[in-house]
């Protein structure tokens, strides 16, 4: 067990280093940060001086090494754009993104499973038909367009929900700002959560539906019916239970993508999370923030994969038995 965890940890570190290296190599193609940092009156000599002071003229390996040695100590430098320490900036934006990701993940899971079960059980019914069609439209339209459409319908035409921002927020503890405890915060969350979770919802729905159809055809379901169990017990106690294992795995893995791909949703709704921070930083060539953000996303994926691997190990008895017998 310990060897397994250690091996996984070493692999994770290698992944993080690779991401850092690739990200750093890419930054050279994003452009020159100086152009957006100084006014147009600044002389060429002064620009060169700033570039030198920021270490932008150093050779690539030196820049990379400086970044790594600082990052290990948790120091990602100061944002070129907002002049705040990068770690503080990202930590202050993270709660917004995590809340959005969590709520849209939960919504995607609940509605995905619900619709999936319904469409599997009531095949051919007009409602299932329309659910399937609408979900297909939802999954084929780009997130940006869905966001704008939702804003147009619910904010401009109906004026039910706010079109941008996070509403009123309150602090829990020292730095976690939540919008979940205020009415305007909850109202602000609805449209972005739908936009962000629509794709995942469709994915889960189709997965559940396919699995359900598969399971409903198996022999043990027939036996369950033969035993005279109620529909309810058969559908939810036996069929759904057995479809959920792959669904939970997928949902867990998708959480990483929800956090990473919240960039577009956050931009459309002016949601003050790390995704919007990243986009603004790219526009400004704010290298310290970009580097820290990419490392953070890599970390999220690495941790989720690590946890999933450990869960497999815990859940799958065969894995443990094999190891044990191999050792003896």
């Amino acid at each position: 067990m310990l060897a397994f965890i250690l091996r996984r940890l070493v692999q994770s570190v290698i992944v993080m280093l690779t991401v850092a290296l690739v990200a750093f190599a890419l930054f050279r193609f994003v452009g020159d940060p100086i152009a957006s940092m100084v006014g147009q009156e600044t002389t060429l000599a002064e620009r060169a001086e700033i570039r030198q002071a920021l270490g932008l003229n150093d050779p690539f390996p030196v820049q990379f090494w400086t970044f790594l040695s600082r990052a290990v100590q948790g120091d990602f430098g100061i944002s070129y754009r907002l002049q705040q320490p990068v770690m503080e900036l990202i930590l202050s934006r993270l709660p917004a993104t995590l809340e959005l990701a969590l709520i849209s993940g939960i919504m995607a899971f609940l509605f995905g499973v619900g619709f999936g079960v319904y469409t599997a059980l009531r095949r051919g019914n007009w409602l299932s038909g329309s659910i399937m069609t609408v979900s297909l439209i939802g999954v084929s339209l780009p997130t940006f367009l869905i966001g704008v459409l939702l804003i147009w319908v619910f904010a401009v035409e109906l004026q039910w929900l706010p079109s941008f921002g996070r509403g009123e927020t309150v602090y829990i503890g020292d730095w976690w700002r939540t919008g979940l405890l205020t009415p305007s915060g909850r109202a602000s969350l609805i449209l972005p959560a739908i936009t962000l979770g629509l794709y995942q919802m469709t994915l889960i729905m189709r997965l559940v539906r396919a699995e359900m159809l598969e399971v409903l055809r198996t022999d043990y379901i027939k036996f369950a019916r033969a035993r005279g169990l109620s529909n309810r017990a058969v559908h939810f106690g036996h069929a759904l239970k057995n479809t959920l294992v792959p669904v939970i795995t997928i949902t867990g893995l998708q959480m990483g993508s929800i956090i990473a791909f919240s960039i577009i949703t956050e931009t459309v709704f002016q949601w003050p999370g790390v995704g919007a921070l990243f986009i603004n930083s790219v526009r400004f060539v704010d290298v310290p923030v970009m580097a820290a953000y990419l490392m953070l996303i890599a970390l999220v994926f690495v941790v989720i994969n690590l946890v999933v691997d450990l869960l497999y190990y815990a859940v799958d008895p065969r894995l443990r038995v094999d190891r044990a017998s191999a050792r003896s």
Binding site: M37, Q40, E46, A155, G165, T267, V268
Partner: protein
């Protein structure tokens, strides 16, 4: 007698009208303005960044010695009078307004002005370049400040419209005696905390989310109608417009060109328009022996006939109609109309004359045309990429095959800085409202502080001498004559293939009156309500 009576009566009427106004403004307009634009101020430090949106927000909290009015003229703010010393023409004298207090209640004196000007001109302040000619700043008494320049500098006062005055004691107390440094590695106190003399006080600052300002009641000037300002950046154009239409914001400053017409027809929304102090033009490498991106023999842009042919092939009115949907002012010279040195002829341009243009190309020996790459930003100016695309078609008509390379501004501007582009688009604003600024940066040979945006590599020692002379000429009529002379040469050489002046539009809830500011720095104190 009769005159007097009329005057008295109208005075009385005015008084009644004014009290009525006061009544209604108290009843209906204890007003909060929710103001949205594309990006946030980068910092609240008064000297750290020389950037438009940063200055615009800071103008509400801090004040400058002189201000810029809607028509481009200077107004008295913290300085009540300014003049060049009679004894020594390299000294500027500023009389500082009395009875001004900072938001923390301390009075503002000449000491604070001296401190602020020194802070602004010391690197890493972003404002340092505007004060490069300052030798020293001294307080003569509590309300007089002398600024000694390295030589006569008749235009120096024009550089002060964005240099804010801060409290010396407050800066020292909080360890921000110098502007924050990017390389320092920690956040300065002044980035998110303020103590200015402006008409509004900072209540809440949440960068990129929300900034709240409330009216400062001890301000020296007239009390503005707006009592509270809530400033929210909304980066996505569609969301910004939606927020206005749904009534969640009152003013949208950066209205996308394609939405202006639609917004004007929407009930409850009005659009305020005006010229911006920014000109859009193309320029090209005029001096290299050959062009890196071209298949042509030699450098076609070095040939005056080719440059003239291009100016005959560009259809500025078509760009205005099709690309800008009517929202631009086509012109022939890279100079907005309110800038000193502008003449009406500068806006005049001949209609496209393709036959003559082709003839000129033939004469120059490029009858079969040539290929060249055009570098264009796609996120800096209004419809910048679309303007470049339009030019591609127009140049094709005279045989110039343009290969368009449009990219983000952080990749585009270094090309001009490093002389790595043969043909490019650039926009230029003139914050000093004087032609010299254009010549210094775009026409003068690149050396020292001159010519940093001269991507044409144009170099004319005679012209350089004239440009340098402008800086110290105190006789304004002579100076204007010299400016005209320089412009004539610049236009004749076709250094710029000019397109238009940008037009600004602000959209707002019906009932709000706010004029467009040429520097795109709207001031919420100028808002009135119907």
């Amino acid at each position: 007698m009769n005159m007097l009576l009329t005057k008295a009566r109208s005075g009385l009427l005015m008084g009644v009208a004014a009290s009525a106004l006061v009544l209604t403004s108290v009843a209906a307009h204890s007003e909060t303005i929710r103001w949205a634009r594309v990006g946030d101020a980068l910092t609240l430090d008064p000297h750290s960044q020389n950037e438009g949106p940063t200055h615009t927000l800071n103008h509400h909290i801090y004040e400058t010695l002189v201000g810029r009015d809607i028509d481009g003229s200077l107004t008295a703010r913290l300085a009540t009078e300014w003049e060049i010393s009679e004894e020594d023409d390299s000294v500027w004298i500023f009389r500082i307004r009395e009875g001004v207090t900072f938001h923390d209640g301390t009075p503002m004196t000449a000491e604070d002005v001296v401190f602020s000007l020194d802070r602004a001109r010391t690197p890493p302040s972003g404002m340092a370049a505007l004060h490069a000619a300052v030798e020293d700043v001294t307080a003569e008494d509590d309300h007089t400040v002398h600024v000694r320049m390295s030589g006569p500098a008749p235009l120096y006062v024009q550089n002060l419209t964005n240099t804010f005055i801060m409290s010396k004691a407050w800066a020292e107390e909080n360890g921000v005696e110098v502007a924050p440094d990017f390389a320092a590695g920690e956040e300065a106190y002044s980035v998110r905390n303020t103590n200015g003399t402006g008409p509004y006080r900072l209540v809440e600052r949440d960068p990129e989310v929300r900034t709240v300002l409330e009216r400062f009641d001890d301000h020296w000037d007239d009390t503005p109608e707006v009592t509270e300002i809530i400033y929210t950046p909304i980066s996505e154009a569609a969301t910004r417009v939606a927020a206005l239409l749904s009534g969640e914001v009152d003013i949208v400053q950066d209205v996308p060109v394609q939405d202006i017409a639609r917004l004007e027809q929407t009930d409850g929304v009005i659009v305020s328009r005006g010229p911006e102090n920014r000109n859009i033009f193309f320029s090209y490498d005029m001096t290299s022996d050959s062009l890196a991106s071209s298949d042509a023999e030699g450098n076609p842009f070095a040939t005056p006939e080719v440059r003239e042919a291009m100016s005959l092939a560009i259809d500025r009115n078509a760009i205005r109609q099709v690309v800008m949907r009517g929202e631009s002012q086509p012109s022939a010279a890279p100079l907005p109309p309110f800038v000193n040195g502008w003449t009406e002829e500068m806006d005049a341009f001949s209609d496209p004359d393709l036959d003559r243009a082709r003839g000129l190309m033939e004469e120059a020996g490029y009858g079969d045309g040539f290929t060249v790459q055009l570098d264009c930003p796609n996120d800096r100016y209004l419809n910048d990429e679309a303007i470049c695309q339009a030019l591609v078609g127009m140049m094709a008509q005279i045989g110039i095959t343009v290969d368009l390379n449009s990219q983000t501004r952080s990749l585009h501007f270094p090309l001009i800085e490093n002389w790595e582009t043969d043909f490019y688009l650039l926009g230029w604003g003139v914050p000093t409202f004087d032609s010299q600024y254009v010549f210094d940066f775009l026409v003068h040979t690149r050396e020292g502080s001159y010519g940093s945006f001269n991507g044409s590599r144009y170099s004319n020692p005679e012209l350089d001498e004239k440009i340098q002379a402008l800086a110290t000429m105190t006789e304004l009529e002579e100076r204007d004559a010299l400016i005209a002379e320089i412009w004539e040469e610049v236009m004749e050489e076709h250094i710029f293939l000019n397109v238009h002046n940008q037009v600004l539009a602000y959209a707002m809830r019906d009932g709000i009156n706010l004029d467009v500011h040429p520097e795109n720095q709207p001031h919420m104190t100028t808002i009135t309500f119907d």
